[in-house]
Symmetry: C2
Subunit: 338 residues, 2 copies
DNA sequence: CGCGGATATGTTAGCGTTAACATCCCGAGT
DNA sequence: ACTCGGGATGTTAACGCTAACATATCCGCG
């Protein structure tokens, strides 16, 4: 309980002396080695308590070669998606007894990612999760120079590493099919930045669904995930006569679209139906509440840790895994029958 | 460039042998010690390159007693505020050459916070930033058992540690005064959970502004930061006749309020003016765009690292600092003259 | 021509822990 | 009684690095 006020914090040897045993026995107690008399164990525990001893994990890591720290590389953890994913990763990692060291990149380019990887490898992490939603980031994973187990989240077919991701194509397809099933002739799309794999996947799903239904796919409008870009695309769409259904690549842009439509007097869903992507907490309270494709970021985070730990702990198996989390449709008031 | 494929990764001694110097000289090169002939330096660098050597920061930390890692304890990094703050912290820390280890708590209670603190202290972090927006979390900082420099973000008058925070009271006052200046007789308030210091501060500012203007403060409505709670409070307000101005304690709840008003046919800002708090990226595209109090989370993160590093590097000075970041009013279309 | 004091390098000794091996003790088996 | 085996403990040696001190080496100057 109490902490004795020595100048320097107590070390194992101090505890050993206090308990009248060798430092190795203290180590055994701490590591729950079976061959320790329970009486001795009690004495050691008491000494630990008395001196307020805490083991030095750095020294431990030096000799065991395991830091029990995982590295996470992510891009703009201010956005809901990455933030939720990282949160899920952190929770899962801690649950498994690992610390998490995070590097948040501003711009995700090859250099940035390799630097971050180096940075983490230097620090001696046992494994790394890279949230690599951009093609350029995924490519940086191609040539991992060191032997640290790595998992990519949303990393496409990236390099030689295991991947955990949400089925973006399926999500895009679901959104589009939902609109089609409501009787819309075709579906317009506001896409994310072209470097993003998620954006590509959603476009692909949207296009596939339209083709399968034998409909013409209009030219997708470009956005950058921000509400403003959605707003601008929305203004363009509002001025066009034949638009009755829009699939927007994320909820933030969808908000911008709704705003633009409201301003232009386009009623949603009476005149135009809108579907978003992500299901951020706000979506349910947009005007109107947004129909959207929900991504289970928490599950993605958890799975990525599972895969990573499997790779770390069963060191031998170099099996590259690929885990796909299905999205789901959340139907609200922004979509209606044509 | 290339990595020699030895079984075990090269260590300093290997580089030393390769370069024909002692390992200490290698260490000197790595630490940019001045007294090394530039020719020797070049030879060492070459050897490092050739062997693909990377220094072992764990061993380094063991002897220097500095891990160059900072711990961050936060609550629900899924929310925009905490996420942005943590992001700012991480950027600033990395800029200063530090790693960041994060623990995200689900519920912030005394036990959770102390556990997290222990956890980080065990890992040997050089300092800790606790994002402690709740009273209970702030209290947990009261009895810090170990000698790790610590800074609280949004920690109120917490314990014995330095604090960096946004002036919540001033923010609440600004929001209220803005509404009053538009000619509203009084201002209603939807507050955050009572355990949160930020919520308290905003209530205090709101109340102070009303009192100063000689107005009666109506009973504040309770929310929990979620859009849903705002929606429910909004429904209550919509049914009341004399409500013309509402100050909502965060933007997410304000969204719920706008939704409720829209549903009930209450027009914003014609019939009721609404002010939020935070200025999340979405606020500009609400219907109508939300007038709100902007918090500069990035600045808070940066300042907290500055204060922490000052504490770490100038070890002697135990000066407890208190740094307050001013909020600012962002005026948009959700407020209008009465 | 040798000596002082830089400057450049090498040598030694930890940092606090765990791994590996050595030792001690006690009860069982013959 | 005497060994043998294994449980409980102690001793020693790393782990890879930096700090501190020791040792060249070189230059200028009296």
């Amino acid at each position: 309980m109490g902490a004795t006020q020595g100048r320097r914090p107590p070390v194992m040897a101090d505890v050993a002396k206090e308990a009248g045993v060798s430092h190795q026995t203290v180590s055994r107690v701490l590591n729950e080695h079976p061959n320790v008399r329970s009486e001795t164990r009690a004495r050691v525990m008491e000494a630990i308590d008395k001196l307020g001893y805490r083991r030095n994990l750095v020294a431990r890591a030096l000799v065991t070669k395991h830091s029990r720290t995982l590295g996470v590389v992510s891009f703009d953890t201010t956005l809901y998606g990455p933030a939720s994913t990282v949160y899920g990763i952190e929770q899962a990692a801690r649950g498994a007894g690992y610390f998490v060291s995070i590097v948040s990149l501003k711009s995700i380019d090859k250099i940035g990612v390799s630097d971050a990887l180096d940075y983490l490898a230097d620090q001696g992490v046992d494994g790394i999760v890279v949230v690599a939603p951009q093609r350029s980031a995924a490519q940086a994973l191609g040539e991992l120079p060191f032997g640290v187990p790595t998992v990519a989240v949303e990393g496409g077919e990236a390099g030689d590493v295991s991947v955990v991701c949400v089925d973006q194509v399926r999500g895009g397809r679901m959104a589009t099919e939902h609109l089609l099933s409501l009787g819309h002739e075709t579906v317009w799309h506001i896409r994310g930045p072209s470097d993003w794999l998620e954006a590509e996947g959603r476009v692909a799903g949207w296009r596939a669904a339209l083709e399968q239904a034998g409909r013409q796919a209009p030219e997708p409008l470009a956005g950058d995930w921000s509400p403003r870009s959605g707003y601008e695309a929305g203004r363009s769409l509002a001025s066009m006569k034949d638009v009755t259904a829009v699939f927007v690549a994320n909820d933030q842009m969808a908000l911008g679209v709704l705003r633009a439509f409201t301003e232009q007097g386009v009623r949603v869903p009476d005149q135009v139906s809108v579907v978003g992507f992500d299901d951020i907490p706000e979506s349910e309270f947009f005007s109107p509440p947004l129909t959207t494709i929900r991504q289970d970021f928490g599950a993605v985070g958890r799975h990525s840790i599972e895969v990573l730990l499997r790779q770390i702990e069963g060191q031998g198996s170099h099996e590259r895994e690929r885990l796909v989390v299905p999205p789901s449709l959340v139907s609200r008031a922004s979509t209606a029958r044509r």
